[in-house]
Amino acid sequence: MCVTCGCGGGETTIDTGEPKRRHAHDHGHPHGHDHSHGHSHGHDHSHGQDHGHDHAHDHAGDHAGRTVALERDILSANARLAADNRRLLAKTSSIALNLMSSPGSGKTTLLVETLKRLGAVPAVVIEGDQQTSNDAERIRATGRKAIQINTGKGCHLDAHMVGHALEHLPLEPNGLVFIENVGNLVCPAAFDLGEARRVVILSVTEGEDKPLKYPDMFAVADLVVLTKTDLAPYVDFDGEAARAHVARINPSVPVIEVSVRREDGLKPWLDWLTTQRRAALEARRRQIEAELAALDAGVPA
């Protein structure tokens, strides 16, 4: 188990695509670079001596039970690491997108075609799969940088894995960071990675009822992309019904239809990406304006 950050994930590996850098996530790792995402979690509490005496040392009934109030989110450790990732990404006004879907819905294909069309827009990719670096290699073939995380038996990415992947990626000003989650319509929904937006992808071949069958995933979506629409006629996919089911679970989420095969619907998707990048810059502007106002008022920001 990891002594730095408490991660027990001996199974997780990170492949940066550079020769000989494939290392097990064992945290003996002498990462020369800055391990910046707040790996102090847990450890700020563990130095027993100075704490040990506030407990019931009253000897009234040594073995009597007591109640310890916690009132804490169970995933608070993940939430802290996600917040660290978010802070790191905000420094460069980067936009991280968490792409979630069943296996085979067309995430990697969509990413590859997107990257080819992004031109000068900075973009990097974090690929999550249980096994293989195939997807990262498909991304690298476009000339973009990709990190492959293999989760072993793990059914979802978490903020900790993404934090480590980010250590290996160049974050450029206002760039896109695509995170392709492990193919699974259930588990990834519960884990904040530090993303700005969650994109849920549904291919028409999966059937229009999936939003109702996997509502927790569609409930957290900031965008739903219906893919492989060229196949809709062959599988009797009812797009209207699909949109109604999505709206039933998540009334305000936008839905975009894409066929990579026919190069159809890519424009709305690319426009949506631009809107998200713009939002990151606007957040930055508000921050700078607040700093200027504080400076003018003579108060340290």
Binding site: G6, G8, G42, H45, S46, G48, H51, G52, D54, H55, H63, A64, G65, R66, T67, V68, A69, L70, E71, R72, D73, I74, L75, S76, A77, N78, G154, C155, H156, D158, V186, C187, P188, A189, A190, F191, L212, P215, D216, A219, R248, I249, P251, S252
Partner: protein
């Protein structure tokens, strides 16, 4: 089976707390789970049993307090309680609902010795 990693986080947190507050054994773990939290109580119970073996929580009872789902009904223009994500508004029977709460996944307290 993300319930297993959720239980792993829960037990890590409790193990930390055990060092901090010097207790050796946990008898009861009380957690609150919202109807929209996306976890199966059965899978949580199983995950807890597996993940707690050999830890301070070994043999502890997991008590799950079930919290309702909350949503805003656009027709009634008010907040209503839902039993699951697909349930209609209990007041008007409508389906235009925006979930507003019920995704809690919290540890409340522990009974320890």
């Amino acid at each position: 089976m993300h319930e297993l990693s959720i239980c792993q986080s829960l037990i890590d947190m409790i193990a930390d707390e055990a060092r901090r507050q010097a207790f050796n054994r946990v008898e009861v773990v009380r957690i609150e789970v919202g109807r929209f939290a996306g976890v199966e109580p059965g899978a949580l119970a199983f995950g807890f049993e597996v993940a707690s073996r050999g830890t301070v929580c070994d043999g502890a009872r997991l008590e799950i307090v079930d919290l309702p789902g909350l949503a805003y009904c656009f027709a009634c223009e008010e907040s209503v309680e839902l039993s699951d994500r697909l349930a209609p508004c209990p007041k008007c029977g409508g389906g235009r609902l925006q979930p507003t709460g019920g995704d809690e996944l919290r540890v409340k307290d522990l009974e320890v010795v």
